[in-house]
Amino acid sequence: MAISEHTHLTSTTTPQDRGEWSYWSGWKPLGKWGGLLMLFCIYFPLAWLALMSISERPLSGIPLPFSLQHYRALFADTKWVEPFGASILIALLVGIVSATVATLVGRALPRTRNPGGLLLLFLLPLFVPGMSLGAALFIFARSVLELKLGFWSIFIGHFVWAFPFSLLIILVLTTRFDNRLIEAASDLGASSWRSFWDIEFPLLMPGIIGAGLFGFLLSFNEVLRTIFLRGTEKTMPVWNWIMAASQQSQVPIIFALATIVLLVTLPLLAGMFWLVFARLDKS
């Protein structure tokens, strides 16, 4: 009975109704909420981290009672200051250098003979896992060139990681750039530096700032490559890492430190995205 009813149904329906299940109105919300749940899982721990950093027992399930003791411990114990400073310094360098180099290369790249191939080459570090690239740079510098690792090798490792991102941001702007503006400027008698400084630079500015900030933040939070390239230096994520891996008692202090870093980083990022989206929208 059930079978005959089924065949009857399918024989009289139009082709559109055959995949009736695919018209279910729940698919769209399912896709939406699945992803939003993941976003929640990304951001909830950050909020929890901040909350637990002011809790007396950060590794328990209940934040109460609150206490600022871990912040006091953080500021009493100054061992994190040096890695923190090193991180800031390297990140600043990486940000400035990758923004500058990405601007230079990003302006010239669209005019080369094989921009696609070159771009792939410059984006190569995106495809190579961080640990592998860190190991490669480490073996090359330490075993082949027999150099002493330290600041400079961390810088190179971070630069290699940050440059592709910076280049992509700059390219978004330079590939859209209207070259007639430069031609017009030179027709009107402007020297090449003048047309760069007065026309190109202001138009590329959001991209350059974005590239610099990307470089800074990517470097500031880098762990996988730094582990290999640090020599005797320590950056803050590495210090966090060592503390977290070795002593459970240090974890609350890391929570406090990570919260402070988050409070600085998140507004910076929000500002950057506002800048990029708002400026790109206008153009």
């Binding site: 699945g34 328990s60 010239a108 896992p129 690239l133 020297s191 994520p237 890492w241």
Partner: protein
């Protein structure tokens, strides 16, 4: 050089030397070749060295520069092969789950009638995690999933369970979980970019011709978004194969992956083993990429997307 000099001569006081040089340099077009040399030195050469180092050996804490396959053979012996298989299994599982959640989400974001603001906010939310310290983001899960953590406190507090759940932390489950959360953006972003450039008219045409939503997805949207899917898989699978923070922090020493082998070889100064393991990950990724490209060729025309990117 004369152009640069002239440029500077024509500049008013206060202009720094490098801006004059900057404009002249790109005019001469040696920026790209020049940087290419540096890039080769800091990226290509190290990777080649890494590859060749994997054919050496370590004896008595000294690297023996005598090419052989011994280090490679050791990768497939003893416990290390087990680690390789486990890494591969976990990485593939994570990537598959990522695709399963990420693709519908990217589809909703790109074609689900979302407003411009929603798109901008979600894209920003997906990008921000790239800039946050992975170790502190991961370690907090210990406080959430642990025996006395948030989830167990809630469950026991509401009397839903009597004893705290123990498999939530320091197991393969927690390692999977941590990796899925960490690599979600790397899957969604490329897929979104690919779906976003699909011409709305094609989707409408498919609907007008009487295709069900599933048929439109299967025959129109999915083939056109394939390059994004491939990019998403590569960007997820690579870090997943080499994942280190998640297995160490959430595996509690019970889940050893390739990265842990690399790290212990590094600590033991066995550089050829480090090189072989790192090369192995890169090769594995390359092989998987080639297989996927071959499969993808049967589904759709990849070059069409490159044309879209160029335009």
């Amino acid at each position: 050089m004369s152009a640069a000099l002239k440029a500077e001569a024509g500049s008013p006081a206060g202009t720094t030397r490098w801006t004059g040089g900057l404009a002249a340099m790109s005019g001469r077009n040696w920026v790209v070749p020049g940087f290419l040399v540096i890039w080769t030195l800091i990226v290509i050469v190290p990777l080649v060295v890494l590859f060749s180092y994997s054919f050496f050996e370590t004896k008595h804490f000294q690297t023996v520069y005598d090419p052989s396959f011994d280090t490679w053979i050791s990768l497939f012996q003893s416990g290390r092969f087990e680690v390789t298989l486990r890494s591969l299994r976990i990485a593939l599982t994570v990537t598959a789950i990522e695709l399963l959640i990420g693709y519908p989400f990217a589809l909703w974001l790109a074609k689900g009638g979302t407003t411009k603001t929603t798109k901008a906010v979600v894209l920003a939310l997906l990008t921000i995690p790239f800039f946050l310290d992975l170790s502190s983001r991961t370690i907090i899960w210990r406080a959430i999933l642990g025996q006395n953590g948030l989830v167990n406190s809630i469950l026991t507090g509401t009397n839903l369970i009597d004893a705290p759940i123990e498999w939530m932390l320091y197991t393969e489950v927690s390692v999977h979980f941590g990796m899925i959360i960490a690599f979600f953006p790397t899957m969604v972003l490329p897929v979104y970019l690919a779906i976003n450039v699909i011409d709305e008219a094609l989707i409408e045409a498919s609907e007008d011709l009487g295709a069900t939503p599933f048929q439109t997805l299967k025959n129109v949207i999915f083939p056109l978004s394939l390059p994004g899917v491939l990019a998403g898989i590569v960007f997820t699978l690579g870090p997943a194969l080499a994942a280190w923070v998640e297995p160490s922090m959430l595996g509690g020493g019970f889940v050893n992956l390739l990265s842990n082998s690399i790290e212990s070889a590094y600590t033991a100064l066995k550089y050829p083993v480090v090189a072989a393991l790192s090369t192995f990950i890169i090769l594995l990724l390359a092989v998987l990429l080639i297989i996927m490209l071959l499969i993808a060729r049967r589904f759709g025309d990849l070059s069409s997307t490159f044309r879209v990117l160029k335009s």
